[in-house]
Amino acid sequence: MEPITTFSANAAALPTANVDTDQIIPAKYLKVTDKSGLAKGLFEAWRYLPDGSLNPDFVLNRPETAGAQILIAGDNFGCGSSREHAPWALTSYGIKAVISTSFADIFRSNSLKNGLLPIVVDAETYHELVSICEEDPTVELTVDLATQRLMLPGGRAVGFPIDGFSKHCLLNGVDELGFILSAEDAVAAYEAGAPRTVNTQG
């Protein structure tokens, strides 16, 4: 995974609450056995018209926000299915961070493993960000992971929380699997002492 540090990018507002992972990437795109074709299916029902052409009214299709790398979305973003295809679709489209007032647990966990930053802000900041984007769709925000700050135009900085371990992994491009593999001795010791409860082969 590429390390994340500081980046500045255009932000697009999708002020809808409870965006579920079926909206982020519909089930028909889940038939792949790799990660191909997911960017095309991102927000399919909103991004395309019934005839398959781009919906000019959808925020990511407007010329000013077409290259947005930050998404500002309503409460409880990423609820529903556990499909990791959702952060894969977002990152392969080019999104690096989603800002919301809250994220569904599994989506947040999946995002952090794919270098997609779930940034939680309070309701006031969220509304401010949405109006900033509406006033100036070309607006750029800066995300500084090391100091856990989001820089708004005009210089205001807003802090955001992130689990220390996830932050360490993102900043250094460390993958979690390597970390668990290093606990091998502890895993073996645990297995030696735990009751044998499951055997799918017998």
């Binding site: 809808t16 409880n76 647990d105 409860t197």
Partner: protein
């Protein structure tokens, strides 16, 4: 005396390979890893890339359920798969399981079925276990007092490689359901009512523990229906303390401990329930006495009302965001605020999914359909959750009841719960569905889903319009 603990605390603590610290999450041991064709292939690719084996294939089990067709078998007894992408996904699962030594319940074989139906029916799902699957409805297994939760594909890879996950401990929330269910009201109505009352984000960050008189009175299959939809309330896991109902259900199943081992296991399981005096971080409540059948009108599972109620008016909602959500949802559903759903025409009735496809669900539906015909113009799909459920239903003659009524009796799988196999609801059509999600396009592009219980589904199948099942109870 040691500090009183909740059921969740006990299961969590018993699986700590390493406790969490401020800097690092806990390393949590996973007893059982269930996999299916959709969320596993990229994890196998990662194992191969790194040259790692599956650490415990004997704690791993694969099934085929999501992209599989449920079309009745051909003359050779084979369920034909036509979609090339589905064929590829199923082939890859076969190859991956063979390469890594993982047992597989092959499409159409005697034990295949929806991943959350087969674990319990095989006796693999047991109290006190940690159970994961790349699937959010892994919460279902919590009905046994296990800690079951959905994970992403990266985490599927972690469990393959290490049989462990990195986790921060969740907060606990008691969901107390007092009272007794009235006739015609089911476990599905309990969970739909909880989600309608508290919202789909209420459980974020929490593990639910369902408790109270109404929960104690439920069968295991009913408890599974409730735990299944914990994720629709935002909770990654939902648990019920194991009791005699649980032990009786597990006893004698193929992968359950047998004989003296079973007795020893029950003795361990009896120590799992939450201790007196243990505290929860939060509590939600519901009174079962007052409950009536529930139905959803919108595009998330929290948009539910008593079937005798009306769709909310925008002005009753607390804020602009909620009003906007309602407007959008009703535009998609082509429904009007302030109106009842009773009498609304339905095009498709789907009885199935990991929420409501077990034998007791099919028996309930069959009660209403016995000796009756489904309404003209309505397509009714009955999809058993597993081949075992299907075989049991056929032993009881339920298949004949469904077919005589004009319903389709299909092979086991996820089917029309999600629009990724051949079973879809056509655009603009209304489906009364016993599944768990009514998201935009969930059952097919443009499909309009109303979620309800198997009883409501069966009553509606007979009339062709949304029907309160209590109006048909007298005729049983």
């Amino acid at each position: 005396m040691s500090t009183p603990q909740t059921l969740f605390d006990k299961v969590w603590n018993a699986h700590l390979v390493r406790p969490e610290t401020p800097d690092t999450p806990a390393v949590l041991y996973i007893d059982l890893h269930l996999i299916h064709e959709v969320t596993s292939p990229q994890a196998f690719t990662e194992l191969r890339r790194r040259g790692i084996k599956v650490r415990r294939p004997d704690r791993t089990l694969a099934t085929m359920d999501h992209s599989t067709p449920t079309t009745p078998r051909n003359s050779l007894g084979i369920i034909p798969v036509i979609d090339p992408q589905a064929i590829n996904q199923l082939d890859q699962l076969r190859a991956n399981c063979a390469e890594f030594g993982i047992p597989l319940f092959e499409l159409g074989s005697a034990n295949q079925g929806i991943v959350h139906v087969i674990g319990p029916e095989q006796g693999l799902t047991q109290p006190g276990l940690t159970i994961v699957c790349g699937d959010s409805h892994t919460s279902t297994h919590g009905a046994f007092g296990a800690l079951g939760f959905g994970i992403g594909t990266s985490e599927v890879g972690h469990v393959f490689a290490t049989q462990c996950l990195l986790q921060r401990k969740a907060k606990t929330c008691a969901v107390r359901v007092d009272g007794r269910l009235n006739p015609g009201v089911t476990a599905k109505d309990i969970i739909l009512a909880i989600i309608a009352k508290y919202g789909i984000g209420a459980g974020t960050g929490y593990v639910f523990e369902y408790c109270g008189e109404a929960i104690r009175a439920l069968s295991m299959e009913e408890r599974m229906t409730i735990c299944n939809m914990s994720i629709e309330g935002g909770a990654r896991a939902g648990m019920v303390a194991p009791d005699d109902t649980t032990f009786e259900y597990v006893a004698g199943r193929p992968f359950a401990p047998q004989g003296a081992d079973f007795e020893a296991a029950v003795a361990r399981w009896r120590t799992l329930p939450t201790d007196d005096g243990a505290t929860f971080d939060h509590e939600l409540t519901l009174n079962a006495n007052e409950l009536v059948p529930m139905i959803t009108y919108g595009t998330n599972p929290g948009m539910g009302i008593p079937i005798t109620g009306v769709i909310p008016l925008p002005e009753e909602l607390p804020d602009a965001a909620a009003r906007q959500t309602l407007d959008k949802a009703l535009a998609y559903m082509a429904l009007e605020p302030g109106k009842t759903l009773l009498g609304h025409p339905i095009d498709v009735v789907f009885i199935g999914s990991c929420t409501n496809s077990r034998i007791s669900d099919l028996r309930q539906a069959a009660q209403f359909l016995a000796g009756r015909k489904i309404a003209a113009g309505v397509r009714v799909m009955v999809v058993p959750g597993s081949q075992q459920v299907k075989a049991q239903a056929e032993r009881e003659g339920l298949d004949e009841v469904f077919k005589a009524a004009g319903a389709e009796w299909r092979e086991a799988g996820c089917s029309a719960c999600l629009g990724m196999n051949d079973d879809k609801v056509p655009p603009g059509k209304y489906a009364l569905s016993t599944s768990n999600r009514n998201f935009v396009g969930r059952q097919g592009p443009g499909a309009r889903t109303l979620l309800a219980s198997p009883l409501t589904a069966a009553a509606t199948a007979v009339t062709g319009v949304v029907t309160d099942p209590r109006t048909m109870l007298d005729s049983l």
